[in-house]
Symmetry: D2
């Protein structure tokens, strides 16, 4: 019977992780389960470092960015001995279920660990990249979108005052979820994402056309993963004769107090995660599917690429006329 | 054939209305339609006051709260002659479709007007109350939730420093959607909504129990519609012996720059609204249903009360232990 | 020789108090002094409840609102026996200097305590009211001004959309410092402060004149201390025939992450406070005087009313045309 | 006699410029002067492009970042013929006084223009760099400090969660005013400014010492002007073995809604500027000197380097223990 739950945040931090830790802890506690918070990601499982989490120790954290459990890259865990050692820690502490809060990398780790251990694994998707298959939205995504939007709303002041074109690079090494939503929300002239190639000449055409229409300022939102934005800025400047400025939003997108939505999603996911463990449905990923809290197989999530709705790109173009 | 679209915001303002007006205008324009923005709600239809909206005139407004078309209470429109006069204005300007952006009251007005006119009516739900049947979320709701959450995050500093109980009243004259999401997001000790009675004695029990658990500060989130919160604060203070403070968040919840989500929803709804008009599907309400942009019959929306998921209240209680 | 410093926050909380506690602790520590943080205001001195503060225990608090030392109303301290008991606690712990962070009430307490004790008293002005004589600005004031301004910037969206007059009540039971700066910063049509009477008829004249000029929306910023704003709103509505709405900003003005300026001022004041103690200049108040960090006699500060620059009101009027 | 005032923003934009334009316009208007707003900096003077500014046309802009008059680099103005042409435009429009809002570069332009023209020149210092001699603070500086602080408060979440060192580069090509205030306000471990060399080995020592004290995360705030921060990050990473991340805050620091202080300062400076013109005191710079609104000779301001108070750096070090 389920008695002890572990919680761990092994990957990059995302706003709302603390809200998820709090919710897992309190919901588990209300079901008479105890909760161990392993510290510094997988490293805490290798070194048996944890905090006993109680409703009081997770008080006052719902509004904090980052993760109170800390996180650390852990190369040892990538080897078989590391995974075995982690499995032993789970056994040692009689951890029946482990809630892994993070993204794809964290879930692949959980799958590995699940193979070596009887502990049930449940994932809560929390990453600003929103690139986890099986959920329409990850914890932290909404916060990162709003952080980027607020920054670009400021940049727009300068863009308009100076009548200049700005390229703003947002996070997203492989995927364009963040760039796409940010781009629509700030009314970008062009949105560049790894999922669809866009040649510099196309961008140049848009900028020239806009100038012709009287739109002298412009914002191009580019996902990190599209390549060298600095080169792109120079290329566009050269071809159009306009001044083009580049701003890379950087790490501020990863932190900050979570939005209401990130907190709510974290809480709903946590409830579902504890439910799944109580029902002994391990190797699962909690998710939002068509507006409903649901779950899918963790392995399937790791093996499947999340599709991006390219119709949004179409909409963005129409809105930029 | 559809040639001219009207847009109007007849009710209370909500953040994201401008994003919706911009999107309707630009999408319509890209389909070779012209757009008239009637000013000051129904009054603009009675007095034939409008702006011709073009892609340029709706530039630079996506991030602004309020409504650039203004709004006004219009008692004349509640009489048959008023509705007839508005219908004549639509005919005079050869308006084939009217996009009504607002809440229930605005949509009832649109139904009345639709009965007297050949103009197709499509509604875009935009109200911070989120109380429109047929959509999981209204434009502006996410912004209002975050505004209230940010304010209460500040109040919490004082609550904790002084170890006091605060009652925070959020908007919601009839429904508790806002209070419920805000309450979960700020980690409220108690959430009070019109949909479920909660006696002062129950609240007193929670406060006493919390004090016993070492939680000396507390936030009670109450929807406007639950009754006199000032009386409630006094009653609780009297019964517990604790200091209880009341803060009514007020009109700031209605304004402000829309969140990314409110802007995105506004844009998606606008696209669907223009689609519906192009397909000559009048008397419709655009909405978000299970994560998908959809539509329902406008009359049905007006006649049906939107259900509130009381399981969220249950979750909130579990999270407040 | 100075060896031990105490810190206490006996009054209402203000943003930046934590930054001040941190700075006092670290600066004192760098001078080989130890620091005791008395908890819950004077109550901590009556019950000998304190935390030993070290550079590490005050880490991660510079950005937090409220006070980590908590605060509590303490009627016992208003009696002679209470003050004596507090003095004994100081002696018992060999506290050579006490840094009192707060407003007028806190400083009067410090003076009382100073009469019964050999411990040197130094005050750091920290209150959102900015009503402490001897300093041009108090810690927390800048934050409260910006919080109110951000809220009213949102309310303006609704005011303009609905073309309505709003009265916004900001904190300030006795003084108008907050209302005055907020009023200028948001471009208020009228600013009402306790220091200068303004009749309802004068306000009515301004509103009518504005309507005549084409300014249909308007914001009146009123300090709490001017009387019943609800009555005022009704009176103006009656006389002008316009809709007038009231919004009381409330407790959110007291909390929140301190602005850069509140944090910087807290740090500079703390440095000066420790300096004064090291120089054995007790019974002093630290302050900003003509842009310079300085100090004055604590008693003089308590006995003198801080003047408010009424020329700012004149400027505000000119800016509201 | 003074009849017509011109306003121009020839350099980089800064938050609060619109508040200054509004205040100049309304104060001038209340003194029966008319106001011409020259567009796109000096270019507007070369091409005689201006808006007639009235109390109504500057309504609703106090809270907006950027400059409603736009700005543009104008190489023609750097030649003698350009300056003469601008002088002719002033004469043509009978502009008796010109209010130049900007930084050092703008004021040097004003001096040149003043030599060729009878129009009185008055400068209002508005730049996020705060590097103008003759004023303790420039319009926009406080806003930029707070924008940077808010961003770094977010980055700190990730720094602490990952226990990493972050270098955050803030604006300031030549001077460290921004970096210094931001550094103190966010509690930086190290602050790097052009005014004082700091070797990589010193930074390495601090980081090692901090790790020894248990401070594993750390923020280094660096002014743009200290050199290649990317190289520095790599050097530190190599020498300490720690992961070091770099974040360049970029253009968002230049925009955004001005803080209350930037708006107030803009209004006070504007009043003084119009006063000076009415008193026929041309070739002046308005400024804040020891907490008081004052003025100095514009030429002297341009020729003198503003000193930076290095005691603040000392304080920052003490606060970082």
């Amino acid at each position: 019977m389920l008695k002890t739950i572990g919680v761990v945040t092994p990957g990059g931090d995302a706003p709302g992780m603390n809200a998820a830790i709090r919710a897992v802890t309190r919901i588990a506690h209300s079901r008479k389960l105890q909760v161990l918070g392993f510290e510094r990601g997988w490293d805490g499982l290798l070194t048996n470092t944890y905090k006993r989490l109680t409703p009081r120790t997770v008080g006052g954290i719902i509004q904090l960015g980052g993760t109170m459990l800390h996180t650390l890259r852990c190369p040892e865990f990538e080897k078989a001995e590391g995974v075995e050692l982690a499995a032993e820690t789970l056994e040692l502490n009689e951890v029946n279920g482990l809630v892994v809060i993070g993204g794809d990398g964290s879930f692949r780790g959980a799958l590995e660990l699940g193979r070596e251990s009887d502990t049930l694994m449940v994932g809560i998707p929390a990453t600003i990249d929103n690139d986890v298959f099986g959920t329409d939205e990850t914890v932290g995504f909404d916060t990162a979108v709003n952080t980027a939007v607020a920054a670009i709303d400021k940049i727009r002041d300068t863009a308009i005052s100076h009548e200049r074109v700005f390229i703003v690079e947002v996070m997203g090494r492989k995927r364009g979820f963040l760039a796409l939503e940010v781009g629509i929300a700030i009314g970008a002239e062009v949105i560049l994402i790894p999922e669809r190639e866009c040649k510099a000449t196309q961008i140049v055409d848009v900028i020239r056309e806009n100038a012709h229409k009287g739109k002298r300022a412009g914002i191009i939102v580019a996902a990190e993963g599209i390549g060298d934005t600095s080169k792109l800025a120079k290329a566009i400047a050269k071809k159009t004769g306009f001044e083009v400025r580049l701003s890379i939003l950087g790490y501020a997108q990863r932190g900050g107090s979570p939005t209401a939505r990130s907190r709510l999603l974290a809480s709903l996911f946590a409830e579902k995660a504890v439910d799944l463990l109580c029902e002994e449905q391990g190797s699962s990923l909690v998710g939002l599917q068509n507006g409903t809290i649901a779950s899918i197989d963790l392995k399937k999530s790791c093996e499947t690429q999340k599709p991006l709705d390219l119709r949004l790109l179409k909409l963005a173009e129409m809105l930029a006329i």
